[in-house]
C-alpha cells in the first residue's frame, strides 16, 4: 500500500494510485505526491535505521549531550577568572563599605589575616588566602579559621558573617571600631529573601540602624538583637525588626551572634591592654562554640 498526499490541502490518500480528484479540495491527480509510509521509511533511511529508530535516538541524544557539555564547560572555564574577579571585587567593596570607606580602597587600607579558636593570628594564612575564605565562609569557620579584615590606618576590623534567612543564605560584614565593641557599620546581603520584606535587610536604610550599637555588655558578648515592635530609644544592643520579615530578621540576629562568638577570643586579646578584666573571659565564651 502506498500513500499519496495532496499538495494543496494535505489530504492523505491510501492506495496504489493517486485518486482522480482530491475528495477534500477537488484538485486533480497530478497534485498528489507519493509519500512513503513509515514502514518503508525505516528501511530506506540508512543512517542507524532512520529518524525514529531507537538507535538513532540514542545516538542523537549522546551526541547532543556531549556537545552541549563541552560548550558549557569551555565557556564556564574560560569565563571563570573574570567571574571570580567580579565576585572578589564585590566582596572587597562590601568590606570597605561596611567601614564607611570609599569603593576601591580595599587594597590600600585593608590588612587581611585569619585567627584561630584562641584568637591568635594564624601565620601560615596569607592575606589572599584569608580573602579567599570568603568564597566558602561556613567551611572556613568549620575548619577553625576565622578571617579578619583590619584597617591598617585606624585599627577597625571587619568580621565576615554568614547565616540562613527565610529562603536562602544571608551574609554580610560587620565593622567594629578599635575598641572591638562599637559597631562602625554593617553590610548585609541575601540570596533570595522576599522583596519588600526580608530583603529590606540589604537596604542602606535598614543598615543605618547599626552604627553606634555595642556588641559587648560588661565584657560579655550580647551581640545585637532584632527587636519586634521596634528597639527602644537608646538601646545599645537592639535594632528594629522588619514587619513581615520576622524569619529573615531572626536569621540575621542568629547570624551576627553566631559569627561574632567565634571571634570573642580575638576581640579580648585585642582589648586586653585596655581592659584587664576581660582577661578571664575566654574560658566561658569558648564553650559556647
Amino acid at each position: 500500500m502506498k500513500k499519496y498526499k495532496c499538495s494543496v490541502c494535505g489530504y492523505i490518500h491510501e492506495g496504489d494510485t493517486p485518486p482522480a480528484k482530491c475528495p477534500v479540495c477537488g484538485v486533480p491527480a497530478e497534485k498528489f505526491e507519493l509519500i512513503e509510509d513509515s514502514s518503508t521509511q525505516k528501511k530506506s533511511k540508512g543512517f542507524l535505521g532512520g529518524k525514529d529508530s531507537s538507535a538513532y535516538i540514542i545516538f542523537y541524544s549522546v551526541v547532543m549531550v556531549v556537545l552541549v557539555a563541552v560548550v558549557l564547560a569551555v565557556t564556564s572555564l574560560s569565563l571563570q577568572d573574570k567571574q571570580n574577579a567580579n565576585i572578589m571585587n564585590e566582596k572587597k567593596d562590601a568590606i570597605t563599605a561596611s567601614m564607611g570607606e570609599a569603593i576601591g580602597t580595599y587594597d590600600q587600607l585593608i590588612n587581611a589575616f585569619a585567627v584561630d579558636n584562641s584568637g591568635k593570628v594564624i601565620e601560615s594564612i596569607s592575606a589572599d588566602d584569608a580573602l579567599n575564605m570568603l568564597f566558602d565562609l561556613p567551611a572556613a569557620f568549620a575548619d577553625g579559621t576565622y578571617p579578619v579584615f583590619e584597617n591598617k590606618e585606624n585599627g577597625e576590623v571587619v568580621i565576615p558573617l554568614t547565616g540562613k534567612g527565610l529562603w536562602d543564605d544571608i551574609w554580610g560584614y560587620i565593622a567594629l571600631e578599635g575598641d572591638m565593641n562599637t559597631v562602625k557599620g554593617v553590610v548585609f546581603d541575601h540570596a533570595g529573601e522576599t522583596p519588600g520584606l526580608g530583603a529590606e535587610i540589604a537596604t542602606p536604610k535598614y543598615q543605618a540602624q547599626f552604627p553606634g550599637k555595642e556588641i559587648f555588655n560588661n565584657g560579655e558578648l550580647v551581640s545585637i538583637s532584632v527587636v519586634k515592635g521596634g528597639a527602644e530609644e537608646g538601646d545599645k544592643h537592639g535594632v528594629d525588626a522588619i514587619s513581615g520579615g520576622t524569619k529573615t530578621c531572626n536569621g540575621l540576629e542568629n547570624m551576627i551572634r553566631n559569627c561574632l562568638t567565634y571571634y570573642v577570643p580575638y576581640f579580648e586579646s585585642k582589648t586586653v591592654g585596655a581592659n584587664e578584666t576581660n582577661d578571664v573571659e575566654p574560658v566561658n565564651t569558648e564553650s559556647n562554640e
Binding site: I57, M64, Q83, G196
Partner: protein, 215 residues
Amino acid sequence: MSKEGKEPMFSAKNMQSFTNPFNKNNPVLVQILGICSALAVTVQVKPAFVMALSVTAVCALSNVILSALRKTIPDRIRIIVQLVVIAAMVILVDQFLKAYVYDISKQLSVYVGLIITNCILMGRIEAFALSNKPWPSFLDGVGNGLGYGVVLVVIGIIRELFGSGTLGGIKIIPDAFYEAGYVNNGLMLFPPMALIIVGVIIWVQRSKNKDLQEK
C-alpha cells in the same frame, strides 16, 4: 518542505511573525504564556527590563538553533532536545552576564535561571520554530521575546511606582506626598497584584480588539 521558495527577508509574512506578538498574538496577554515569570520579576522595572532582554535573546537563539536542526530531531525526544538547547542557552547567557555585567546579573539572580521554565520558549519552538525556517523563526523569537517584555515592563512600572514610589530605583513620588499621608501600596509588592494587573491589561486589550473576544 523544500518547495517553500525564496522569500524576501522582510516579506509581509515574516514581518507578521515579528509584529503579531505585540498585539493580537501577545504571548502573555493572548496566549497566556510566561505568566509565572511575569509575576516574579516585576516588582521593579529594572529586573523586568533585563529579564525581557534575556528572554528575547534566549528565545531568538533557541528558535534559530532548533529551526536549523528541525529535520534531524527525532519526534519522540523532541521536547527533551528543546529543553537541552534552551537550558544550554540560558546557562550561556547567565555565564556571560556574570563575567561582563556582574551588577546586572546580581540584580537578576535567580530570574535568569527561571528563563528555562518560561513557557513562551517551549511554546514558540513547538508552535513555530519546528515547522519554519531559521530566519522567520528568528523574527518570531525576537518578536515574542519583546512582546513578552513590553507587558513585563508595563507591569513593572505600575508595581514599582505604586508599591515603592520609585521607577528604576529613582524616587518618583515626592516626599511631600508621604508627609501628607500617602502610603505605598504594600499589595503591589506581592505577586497576586501582578496577576490582577495582567487581568486588567487583558481586559483593556480585548475591549479594543473585538476579534479577540470570545463569543
